[in-house]
Symmetry: C2
């Protein structure tokens, strides 16, 4: 099931505009993710009102001053009251607490979505707050980000050409799904749908594991005693390889707390492959090394085609 609809161009735009025009969007958490949604939507949808809810009034004031949001509140129930769509854009482990505070002002017309990188743990939190998941709750995850965090790092084009995965349940209200899909499509994203479990397994492999590996490598090297000297001779390849180790520790702490088993599953496969390569290196197994590197290069070059990227700039 794909929510990215077949009608492109003006008709698609009309549909999104229709679904969002005159609506009230509440964004809880005005960091990189929530801030980029506000920046990307502002001024694009006729009559759309954006309320940001956060704890840092300085940031909220700044965003209002920037013309990125219409209004703000530091109180979740107050800020979300009467909203048509609520986007919960906070680290994975904070979503449950937020929903608890949102509960008193929820209505059957209020579509609610989140942007957390893990969906199983979010559904657990939802179950804890509501018993069975509300029909208007549409779990979501924009596959977009940066190693930078906070409102200051928000970009109006962050979601342009990126993928957003929704993981609705059988009982999820289709109108709520359309509403949430329209929100992301208005930001230029492609919206796809899959099961909660599948999402968490796929993201463990392509996102969570690489972050763990990058954090671990930088940490290993920085413990080597001569780390500053080691880093001095590192070049562009190392910079790119470790870029994701500059990501927000709190966000990634939450992700690994929330998606541990799926990440460890693929980590165990990886460690097994590392031991195989370790053996090949020690035994100077020329064929094994050559085969692995050739196969990996081919896969990675294929991945670029799948990603449909422009040729990368050279380091």
């Amino acid at each position: 099931m794909r929510w990215s609809i077949v009608c492109w161009g003006p008709i698609r735009w009309l549909r999104m505009t229709e679904l969002l025009a005159g609506k009230h969007l509440a964004i809880i958490g005005l960091g990189l993710i929530g801030g980029s949604v506000a920046r990307g939507l502002k001024g694009k949808i006729p009559g759309l009102t954006i309320t940001a809810i956060g704890r840092n009034t300085q940031v909220l004031k700044q965003a209002q001053h920037d013309g990125v949001i219409n209004q703000y509140s530091t109180d979740i129930a107050q800020g979300c009251k009467g909203a048509d769509i609520v986007l919960v854009a906070v680290p994975s482990l904070s979503v449950g607490g937020i929903l608890e505070q949102l509960k008193p002002v929820m209505t059957e017309h209020m579509a609610i979505t989140d942007a957390a990188s893990v969906k199983g743990a979010i559904m657990d939190a939802v179950a804890e707050v509501f018993g069975s998941p509300p029909a208007m709750f549409v779990p979501g995850h924009p596959i977009a980000g940066s190693e930078h965090s906070g409102y200051a790092a928000a970009l109006d084009h962050l979601y342009q050409g990126k993928k957003v995965i929704l993981t609705p349940l059988e009982d999820t209200n289709p109108a709520a799904v359309s509403q949430v899909a329209a929100l992301w499509e208005a930001l230029g994203a492609e919206v796809l749908s899959m099961s909660v479990e599948h999402h968490d397994a796929v993201l463990a492999a392509t996102s969570h594991l690489p972050h763990l590996l990058a954090y671990a490598l930088v940490d290993t090297l920085s413990q080597q005693g001569v780390s500053e000297e080691i880093f001095r001779y590192a070049a562009g390849g190392f910079r790119d390889f470790t870029r994701i180790a500059s990501s927000d520790p709190q966000m990634w702490h939450d992700i690994f707390m929330a998606n541990g088993p799926a990440t460890v599953d693929v980590l165990d496969n990886y460690i097994e492959d590392l031991y195989r390569l370790r053996k090949a290196v020690l035994e100077k197994d020329s064929a094994e090394l050559m085969n692995t590197f050739t196969r990996a290069k081919k896969s990675r070059d294929n991945f670029l085609t799948v990603l449909n990227t422009k040729p990368e700039t050279k380091s």
Copy 2:
């Protein structure tokens, strides 16, 4: 000992020009590394003659047509005869065979250097060919590259602002060292010096290990059965993390064959750290995860300062 001299600007340029003007440079292997040297030098040094030696005459003809080299040969002895500086720019394991062919035309005025990423294995090959290392041989390694390979990927600015490590021995001729240092400095590189062993340990940590990890990750994921689907949901972070897995398999095969023990040393530290993190993830050890990620982010942000990079563009 640093070969990057204290005199900068016009005086430094004069020195390099003086050392290279009117000289004959022979480059064996006109790929990314050798091709970028030729591209970067051509037209900059008065009277410098560049001869390229390679096996692919089509590439050699193209380079001559591009005005990047003055002449070419497919025969090492013939192409290098009478050269003042010879740069051997071939994969690590091929250097020995090249030196064997170079031997008959070597003179005591011919400075010879290489560009291989491993220096211990090069010194072993040198010992095999010559007994004791010739005084005019200056082992070298430009810390610059790209996941692209071949002459077509060569860039005139590849070495601009990059580091080049020379690993001369006690008996290495200082005039040869100056000559080779001038070559790299003329390309805008900073030339540094360290021992062979230290070079191989540092590079194992900052370059060889990351390449092994990236190759292994792409290979692990591509063996997951649903690899195309997995790759479909990967984003910019994954692209950057795995960029080095698109590097030339032959070159990296040679590097691991040549620098196995040093790479396995740091790989073992890394796997140990991975197990520690695996345990923390499984046991939901919040403090351990938060500490590791925070420490790694701090180290990585420090590394950017050490590298003195401009702020990175956001993904």
